[in-house]
């Protein structure tokens, strides 16, 4: 998976590349609009991460010219929050997603993955499995090591969400918006409590813990490495 990052802010560009490279992506980074447009039009990428404020040509124009040149590579727009931004404009111009600075890296990563997952036939799975944890999406049953675990409807939705995104660090804000449709940054610890309860049911009785808290970032569900 190859990602082009067009971002003029030196540190942001460096850390984005580093983070994405460490997450297993191949990245190219440019800090100028013209170079970015040139690369986007000549090279093949799976995703372009595009800052709006750029020297030379701005992000909107790069996006427009890419689309005019029939380049349908997915584009994730980054924009500073203090600008009065036009989310609709970005999406109308053909951007696939939109993220406001400052953003959580975990959030960026999960959106990047979501965009890249798109288009791939979303096969209708009946079961999701991580290590010995298994959930059945039709019967809404949760089992671990063959033992049935009772969960509430909300807990099931939460578990399904983190299992579909297994291995990804999921920030609290993403969980709140995806599982509860709450788009604000709550100053309460709802997600913490919900995750604690879920863990009590999934992990407490087992030696191998599947759900981990990444302090300051969010939660991840994955089978531990041996």
């Amino acid at each position: 998976m190859k990602i082009l990052i067009i971002e003029d802010e030196l540190k942001t560009e460096q850390y984005l590349r580093r983070g994405l490279t460490e997450a297993g992506f191949v990245t190219d980074g440019v800090r100028d609009g013209r170079d970015g447009l040139h690369l986007a039009l000549t090279e093949i990428y799976d995703l372009v991460i595009l800052d709006v404020m750029l020297p030379g040509i701005d992000g909107w124009e790069i996006l427009q010219r890419m689309r005019r040149a029939e380049r349908h590579v997915p584009v994730l727009i980054l924009s500073a929050r203090d600008q009065i931004v036009d989310r609709v404009k970005g999406l109308e111009l053909g951007a696939d997603d939109y993220l406001l600075k400052p953003f959580d890296f975990a959030e960026l990563l999960s959106r990047v993955r979501a965009i890249l997952r798109r288009g791939k036939a979303n096969q209708m799975v009946e079961k999701l499995q991580v290590a010995d944890l298994e959930i059945n999406l039709t019967s809404r049953r949760v089992t671990r090591a063959g033992k049935r675990i009772g969960v509430t409807a909300k807990e099931f939705t939460l578990l399904e969400f983190i299992m579909r995104r297994q291995g990804e660090v999921l920030p609290r804000s993403l969980i709140a918006s995806q599982v509860w449709d709450m788009s604000f940054d709550s100053d309460t610890n709802v997600i913490e409590v919900a995750m604690r309860r879920l863990r009590a049911k999934i992990d407490d009785d087992f030696d191998v813990k599947l759900i981990r808290t990444i302090r300051g970032m969010g939660y991840v569900l994955e089978a531990p490495e041996r």
Binding site: R81, I84, R87, K154, D185, D187, R215, G216
Partner: protein, 482 residues
């Protein structure tokens, strides 16, 4: 733009104008009276002379004796009037007697012939005459009455009148000018309290907003103005004070996480440590950064709302549905503390920005959760009230003192200034944001607290009138949260 004429000039001109008008009227009346006086005097004199002539003619027994009357009349009638003239014309048109300037005499003969008996004024050779004519019976037996005309030279009187009028006009002009000047001085003097007041107003600086203009020095006419100004000053002072308090509070709030980060990072860097410790430091930094970011987010939202840059994206919102979703979200935290969440009531759908309303209500709910004692109940009531939809979040818990209630929606306002309520993420902007959001929608917020119960109510119009161009709606959209 041309600035309007000054108050002093306006008053001075009005004063001078009215004085000039009064003088003019007085002058005209006075002139007319003097003129009338002269006229009466002339007529009396003419009458007197006519009487003398009548006597004299009545005593003349023959036409011949009339001819020799000249000497006698010259002494009696013409004495002191060198330019006067007399004619006596018989009924057959013969001039029985004439004396005086030939030109005047000719005129008299003509007018006597035409039987003009009314007194009239007449001018010739720069001299003015007043003439009177009458029919006088002669002493001659069997004779018809003769026409007698007398002309009185009134040139000197007319000259006097002219000089008098000139003097009058000059006086009026000079008087008006003088009055204008006096008026200007009087107005300046009279308006000096206004200048004092304006000097006082000019001296009001931001550091003196708390000092009202002393009413004792203000004339009664200006009392209303100044007391209105003082009220405005008080309001300004209040907002100014709150603004500077907000700035210093926010600076303090920002300094705390920055201080934490600097401290822990510097300590971490002061010697070599193992990876775990660096890891912990970075994570702690991240928490502080998130707090900072959140605070800046909230402040930006409030600042944008203050400047009308936040334009809600209106959509049909079912408050009952939104509240249910929020309660579902908060249920988890509430049940941890055995607090139950109860929803009741309903209202027709409102047009609102769903995400903003969600945020506004969530602030009320997390606020209520923070203060509700374990095992108690928070109730959320939705109602339709006087053309508005309202949502009330009520919870048992410590009462908010009445004096704090109006300020509770202020920024960074805490009932107990020394205490930070809730977790570290709570910086005291929640209720202010709720208020901003509701006001953007044209609604109101209120709070009441009594008998161990605190209620926060928001009301929303069903169809808000947002003061903005709908075309700019998307351009001005300020995102709420990541």
């Amino acid at each position: 733009m041309k600035s309007p004429i000054s108050l002093t000039a306006r008053l001075s001109l009005l004063f001078a104008g009215s004085v000039a008008f009064a003088l003019l009227v007085a002058g005209m009346l006075f002139g007319r009276a003097v003129e009338g006086q002269f006229q009466m005097h002339h007529l009396e004199e003419l009458d007197g002379k006519m009487e003398v002539i009548r006597d004299t003619l009545g005593n003349s027994a023959s036409y011949e004796s009339i001819a020799v009357l000249q000497e006698q009349l010259h002494n009696t009638v013409m004495a002191g009037h060198p330019h006067s003239a007399i004619t006596i014309v018989g009924s057959d048109g013969t001039v029985l007697l004439s004396m005086g300037q030939p030109k005047v005499v000719r005129h008299l003969v003509e007018s006597a012939a035409m039987g003009k008996s009314q007194p009239a004024t007449w001018s010739s050779d720069n001299r003015t005459y007043r003439t009177a004519a009458d029919r006088v019976a002669l002493g001659v037996p069997g004779s018809q009455p003769a026409e007698v005309a007398i002309s009185l030279d009134i040139t000197s009187d007319e000259d006097f009148l002219r000089a008098f009028r000139r003097f009058l006009w000059f006086g009026i002009g000079l008087g008006s000018l003088a009055m204008g000047l006096i008026g200007w001085m009087a107005v300046r003097k009279g308006l000096s309290p206004l200048r004092n007041v304006s000097a006082m107003l000019a001296n009001v600086s931001t550091s003196q907003l708390d000092k009202p203009i002393p009413m004792a020095d203000v004339p009664s006419d200006l009392q209303d103005l100044i007391s209105a100004f003082n009220r405005m000053l008080a309001r300004l002072h209040d907002s100014f004070r709150r603004l500077s308090e907000f700035s210093s509070d926010i600076a303090h709030e920002l300094r705390t996480p920055i201080n934490n980060m600097m401290l822990q990072t510097q300590v971490a860097l002061s010697r070599k440590r193992d990876t775990e410790e660096y890891y912990a430091t970075l994570q702690s930094d991240l928490e502080e950064l998130r707090r900072l970011s959140r605070m800046i987010e909230d402040m930006l939202f409030l600042a944008n709302a203050d400047n009308c840059l936040v334009v809600p994206k209106l959509e049909t919102t079912d408050l009952r549905e939104e509240v249910a979703k929020l309660l579902d979200f908060f249920e988890i935290v509430a049940s941890e503390r055995q607090v139950s969440l109860v929803q009741s009531g309903a209202a027709p759908t409102v047009l609102s920005d769903r995400l903003m309303i969600q945020r506004a209500l969530s602030n009320l709910l997390s606020n209520a959760l923070r203060f509700t004692p374990e095992g108690m109940m928070i109730d959320v009531r939705i109602r339709e009230d006087a053309g508005m939809a309202s949502v009330t979040v009520g919870n048992p818990g410590p009462e908010i003192p009445a004096e704090h209630l109006p300020k509770i929606f202020g920024r960074l306002y805490r009932v107990d200034a020394s205490r930070r309520e809730g977790d570290t993420l709570n910086v005291g902007l929640g209720l202010a944001i709720t208020k901003s959001i509701v006001e953007i929608h044209g609604g109101t917020v209120s709070a009441e607290s009594a008998k161990g119960r605190t209620c926060f109510t928001i009301t929303l119009p069903f169809r808000p009138e947002i003061l903005s161009d709908s075309a700019t709606n998307d351009d001005l959209q300020v995102p709420l949260a990541a």
